[in-house]
Amino acid sequence: MSGFRLDIAFRRPHLALDVLLEIPPGLTLLLGPNGAGKTTLLRLLAGLEKPDDGTITSNDRTLFDAARGICLPPSQRRIGLLFQHLALFPHLDVRDNIGFGLRAQGIGKVERERSIAAIVARFALEPHIDKPVAALSGGERQKVALARTLAARPDVLLLDEPTATLDQENRWRFRAWLAEILAEWKVPTLMVTHDPADAASFRKRIVVLEGGRICQRGSFHQLLHAPATPFVADFAGVNFISGTIGTDNGATIFTSAAGTRLQAPFELSRSGPACLTVLPWEIALYRELPEGSPRNVVEGTVRDAIVLGDRVRVTLLGREKLVAEISLRGYQAMGQPGRGATLFAAFKAREARVENV
């Protein structure tokens, strides 16, 4: 069986993990609230921490087996870990960073240079190859870090919140690029995130780690429709509209399956099937149709309004189902619209995100 399999237990006073997971080739997303042990789980798999019990196998190679007393050191696991803060070697230039793994593994100079050249070309890093890593931008550093990890030819790839340190715009660019790269490398990949937009973007295989256990697994769609825990429900609260990107009188427009026409930043997408996401707190609610506004407006009736502290989460049903999260004060100022009230949900084009599917 190809793939990565783990069944481990790890107990510490502040954290207990009990995780059974199979990661097939391709991307699996690991979600979980802060403090759920996501990073610890990655460290356990990489061999930087030792589980108390269980087994870890990679393509039928045993990396860890508590019963048989097997625990391979990190250097022999052939696991690539992309650290959240990248951990690029500050004393080496881009070329030597990327070539580090091959050199450490004793690969000869000729073959090493060939491998570096190939991956540098694929990642479009040629202009930076002789630069010290400190001279690179955030996005470039991320590319170098992933190039360095992949150049070492790992059997498994672990990504620790790779989008966390990027700004919003670069995040979407990085996701699209990462999807492309992973499609080529085809190694089992586990990506940790707590960004709902990551889940909306890579939505095929998601596992949720909560309270030290995998509490749910499935597609983003499944999580959206049947959240197993409040965390998943919250997380999946991101509005998700499927439709198509097309042109109308020369202007690009997103049309939902139900026919709603919406504006969004289209620079990174092309015509065809797509999905649009917008976060609940980026939606404003109005009693009347807001006039003269360049924003996207969707009409709906209130299904429910739930007070969460000083915020109110309002679910609107209409042509689209939308969840908006507004301040309690704003909700009261509107006269606390209840079930059945008609409201208009508005959000700016640039707050929506579109992705081709």
């Binding site: 990489a46 052939r78 010290p132 360095r148």
Partner: protein, 266 residues
């Protein structure tokens, strides 16, 4: 409020001025004492040259030995768990606060002809006390703990994630140490080595007790100064000025070396 700020600044200035005076005045007096003609004549004497030779060779040997053995030791200490770390740190403190005279006596008891280890050595026909090797050994004994302690702190400061990243890329412990940890500490490590070398030049108490004061063999510049001070104080002052100049030159050379390292790229 601004009044007390003024007072604080004045206090700082006063303290700094006092310390500067206390340190610079004697050094300046010694430099003034250095008369080029006399220094040159002194440098030409075989005795001085022999003392200088002994000083530099033993200091270099000791620095090398401390560097080669202290580096891995410090790295091991830096990677110890907390409990062991505290124990080792206290163990290192002991020789650090030990008076050099006591250190010299302890060395004699261990390596002297009737010492614990000395007996084994003399059975093989070897004798350490009152040899050049004894000077080197005394320097190592006194200075290695300082070097190890400071270097361990250097290694503590290396970002752990970088070492982990190296391991995950397939690097064994030595490869990671050699290609990540060591280069990251290169500059401060060289500064530490220079510091050890400079300190070893001036060592006295442990050396004179354990190695004696034999011209051409164990008589370093400091011992020569001590010797001259009893018979011919004028020579002692001249030698002291010479030692000050040598130290000054070495400090400057060290600075230059470190600056070149900075400019030298990677």
């Amino acid at each position: 409020m601004s009044g007390s700020g003024w007072l604080f600044r004045f206090g700082m200035l006063l303290a700094a001025g006092f310390i500067a005076l206390l340190i610079l005045l004697p050094l300046f007096s010694l430099l003034l004492y250095a008369d080029p003609a006399r220094q040159l004549a002194l440098l030409r004497s075989d005795e001085t040259l022999a003392a200088l030779r002994v000083t530099l060779t033993t200091s270099l040997l000791a620095t090398g030995a401390i560097f080669v053995t202290g580096l891995p030791t410090a790295f091991a200490i830096s990677r110890f768990n907390r409990k062991w770390r505290q124990l080792v740190d206290s163990l290192l403190e002991l020789p650090m606060v030990l008076p050099q005279i006591v250190a010299g006596l302890a060395l004699l008891l261990a390596f002297g002809r009737n010492g614990i280890f000395g007996r084994v050595l003399s059975a093989w026909g070897m004798q350490i006390p009152f040899s050049t090797a004894a000077v080197v050994l005394a320097i190592i004994f006194v200075l290695a703990p300082f070097f190890i302690r400071r270097t361990a702190v250097l290694f503590d400061q290396v970002d752990h994630e970088l070492e982990e990243a190296a391991q995950l890329l397939g690097a064994g412990p030595f490869f990671g140490f050699r290609h990540v940890t060591l280069p990251l500490c290169r500059r401060p490590l060289i500064a530490e080595a220079i510091m050890v070398f400079l300190q070893s030049i001036g060592l006295f108490g442990a050396v004179i007790l354990f190695a004696g004061n034999i011209p051409g063999r164990t008589r370093t510049l400091t011992l020569a100064i001590f010797d001259a001070f009893e018979s011919n104080p004028e020579v002692a002052f001249a030698l002291a000025a010479l030692l000050l100049l040598v130290s000054l030159l070495l400090v400057l050379a060290g600075r230059l070396l470190l600056r070149n390292l900075d400019g030298g790229g990677k």
